[in-house]
């Protein structure tokens, strides 16, 4: 698999970097048409950002439960195999799922000295920064997804003692394949415990980074269309 395999006759980098940038130009010159095109998309995206934030928060609560469970099992003398690994996975889920949500709430920090200088910079420098950020985030997401696929292909397993029931993997895999493969998939699956494959927690990384990339592009379009940034930060964190 090459990194920038052509899709529909054009290399992948065109679709990931050039096409969104072209749409940004379109937003700049045709504000009203762009607004009409993109408003329905916003209606879909806004709840998605929020949901991903809620998912991230629930993983934080899961971290707490895992750590408390680990302490309790130590006091009672029972073993909780792979507790530290699971807490690590939950940590990754919290971080990655929250990326886009955090961005929209203005909680990611940036050096804003020049941004606050005047209105011209507030608009153009912000647009420039968002373009650079969007390209970086897209690159991040592209390789996160690639790594995730490779972990699955190479059947990369955890180095710890953590195990998950195989049916969990099968449930997730069901979403990743066509319905006509489902019977075969479930027939070959057992209810045994297997060592956690790395691709399972890495799904959080793929989803989270893709959402972040979408969120940055989205914020760029909103800035260009509305002429004001839609990132509103709370007064003090």
């Amino acid at each position: 698999m090459r990194d920038w395999q052509p899709i529909l006759g054009l290399p992948l980098w065109f679709w990931l970097f050039i096409a969104p940038s072209l749409f940004a130009l379109f937003c700049l010159y045709n504000r009203n048409i762009a607004r009409r095109i993109i408003t329905p998309v916003w209606r879909v995206l806004d709840p998605i950002y929020k949901i991903s934030g809620v998912i991230a928060a629930s993983f934080m609560a899961i971290i707490l439960c895992l750590i408390v469970g680990q302490m309790v099992s130590r006091w009672t003398g029972t073993v909780f195999p792979g507790g530290t690994e699971f807490a690590g996975y939950a940590m990754a889920c919290t971080s990655f799922f929250a990326l886009a949500y955090t961005l929209n709430h203005g909680a990611h920090i940036r050096v804003s000295i020049f941004l606050n200088m005047n209105d011209f910079l507030r608009y153009w420098l912000d647009a420039f920064a968002m373009l650079i950020s969007a390209i970086t985030a897209t690159y991040f997401a592209r390789y996160a997804v690639k790594t995730n696929f490779f972990s699955e292909m190479l059947n990369d397993r955890t180095q710890g003692l953590d195990q998950v029931p195989e049916w969990v993997l099968t449930v997730v895999a069901t979403f990743g394949t066509w319905p006509w493969n489902w019977s075969e998939l479930w027939a070959s699956s057992s209810s045994d415990m297997v060592y956690t494959p790395v691709w399972l927690p890495q799904i959080a990384m793929s989803i989270g980074t893709i959402l972040l990339a979408i969120a940055v592009w989205d914020n760029l379009y909103r800035l260009l269309i509305n002429k004001v940034t839609s990132i509103k930060s709370e007064t003090v964190e």
Binding site: A57, I63, G88, A98, L99, H108, L125, E237
Partner: protein
């Protein structure tokens, strides 16, 4: 020569991206990517994700969201009111009176929260109006608050120390232990300053507080005692080796939830806002750490950190000289960037250097926090003067001319804000001009620089406690 070239490229791209206000985490990734593409033949993207995934899914990091969450929960209780009401009766006997509530309040809240902005907001919200209504001078109220709030960075749990520990692979428990005494000494310095101010200035004194019976005093501080109990449990469990830093954080969250439930301020709204707030802060730090992990990988490939370490060894630079250089460096960096970013940004280079110079990394972590704390309240001019004045005199530059030049810079500085972040939070709270707030903070900057000196002269202040814990990991 390649190293010089590499330094130049890294710095140029870094300042370009950060200056154009790209988000810090993504900017670090961008710089790292440029470094990988220019100086190595390794596939940048794959190396990037491997490093980031390993870092992001590490167990050590789980202490971070939990400690943030603990602070968030207590932030949303009625703790700040109780902090003032509970401390006031005990502190009114001291010379300087209730100004000490600023210091003591910040010290206590610092022990449940890891950030100085949160500490400042929490304590200031209550103490500023109370102290004002009692007629304490405005510059003392604001100055002491600006200084003391930085204790949030030092007294465990400290987010800066967690980030430092994760960046250099050091035990977080040890770093936390190392922060306790310097934090207490610093808060002692602040209190001593208030006492000193009390005896050296004349003028109208605020009315003494009405007398209160001992029973009443206990009643006023009813909620304070459980919070301090929680602090002791969290820190004590780490000290005795009964729990790791992460487990202590989990204890802290459970304790904070219990306390707020007893106090009656725990409901679905405060629970969910504290959880969402903690999620945001933790994701913010996580993104920076991801960028930093990739950047240090990329810098490692260029051989830059090793070259810098060899340079230090080659010059036979004494540790004291190196520390002096780094103090100035971090003070300047810290005035423009927040503490977390300046730690992660520099660790890849600085860590080999200090290891090569034979400096204790735990001690260095504490030192770093003091310097960054100082930078957070340093108005640019105060610092510039201290360092630049002897230099310009030696260089034969007219001091009068330089004064004019400075005034221009000050005026510019009043419209551009490369000033400590704390001062901005205070500006939002008090509606004072930033220049005024900066001025009130100058004595505190002096005290904190004194703290740097104390730390260099008595390194045991930081290193004694961590060497004497019964550690689990």
């Amino acid at each position: 020569m390649t190293e010089l070239y590499a330094i130049f490229i890294f710095l140029f791209v870094l300042f370009l991206l950060l200056g154009s206000s790209v988000w810090v985490g993504l900017a670090l990734m961008g710089v790292a990517w440029v470094g990988m593409e220019l100086f190595t033949s390794r596939p940048a993207g794959d190396a990037m994700i491997t490093t980031i995934w390993t870092g992001a899914s590490s167990w050590t990091l789980t202490a971070l969201p939990l400690f943030i969450w603990m602070g968030e929960i207590l932030f949303r209780t009625r703790l700040s009111q109780d902090l003032f009401r509970g401390l006031a009766p005990w502190l009114r006997f001291l010379p300087g009176g209730l100004l000490h509530t600023n210091i003591a309040g910040c010290t206590i809240f610092a022990a449940v929260s890891g950030s100085s902005a949160a500490t400042l907001n929490m304590v200031g919200k209550m103490s500023i109006p109370e102290l004002r209504s009692r007629g304490y001078p405005e510059h003392m109220i604001i100055g002491t608050l600006a200084g003391a709030a930085t204790l949030g960075l030092m007294i465990p749990p400290s987010l800066t120390l967690i980030v430092y520990g994760v960046s250099i692979n050091e035990s977080i428990t040890k770093l936390f232990m190392a922060g306790i005494f310097p934090g207490l000494v610093l808060s002692g310095l602040f209190m001593a300053y208030i006492v000193f101010w009390h005896f050296t200035t004349k003028g109208p004194r605020p009315k003494p507080e009405p007398a209160m019976s001992f029973g009443q005093m206990m009643k006023e501080s009813m909620f304070l005692l459980p919070v301090m109990g929680l602090v002791f449990v969290v820190i004590g469990s780490m000290y005795t080796g009964y729990a790791t830093a992460t487990e202590a954080a989990a204890v802290g969250v459970v304790g904070a939830l219990t306390l707020s439930a007893f106090q009656g301020s725990l409901n679905w709204k405060t629970f969910s806002t504290s959880l969402m707030g903690a999620t945001r802060t933790s994701a913010m730090i996580a993104l920076i750490l991801m960028g930093a992990a990739f950047l240090s990988l990329s810098m490692g490939f260029t051989g830059l950190p090793r070259a810098m370490a060899e340079l230090i060894e080659g010059y036979n630079l004494s540790p004291i000289a190196l520390i002096a250089v780094l103090t100035v460096f971090y003070l300047i960096l810290g005035m423009f960037m927040d503490g977390l970013s300046s730690v992660v940004l520099t660790m890849a280079i600085v860590e080999p250097m200090i290891r090569a110079a034979g400096i204790d990394v735990i001690w260095f972590g504490i030192f770093l926090v003091v310097v960054i704390e100082t930078a957070q309240v340093t108005p640019p001019i105060g610092l510039t003067m201290a360092i630049v004045e002897p230099m310009i005199r030696a260089a034969g530059i007219d001091v009068i001319w330089f004064g004019i030049f400075l005034v221009v810079v000050i005026e510019t500085a009043q419209v551009t804000p490369p000033i400590g972040f704390n001062l901005f939070v205070l500006q939002g709270m008090t509606k004072h001009e930033i220049g005024y707030i900066a001025k009130t903070a100058i004595p505190m900057v002096g005290l904190m620089l004194l703290m740097v000196v104390i730390l260099v002269v008595f390194p045991e202040l930081a290193t004694w406690l961590p060497e004497n814990i019964r550690s689990r990991n």
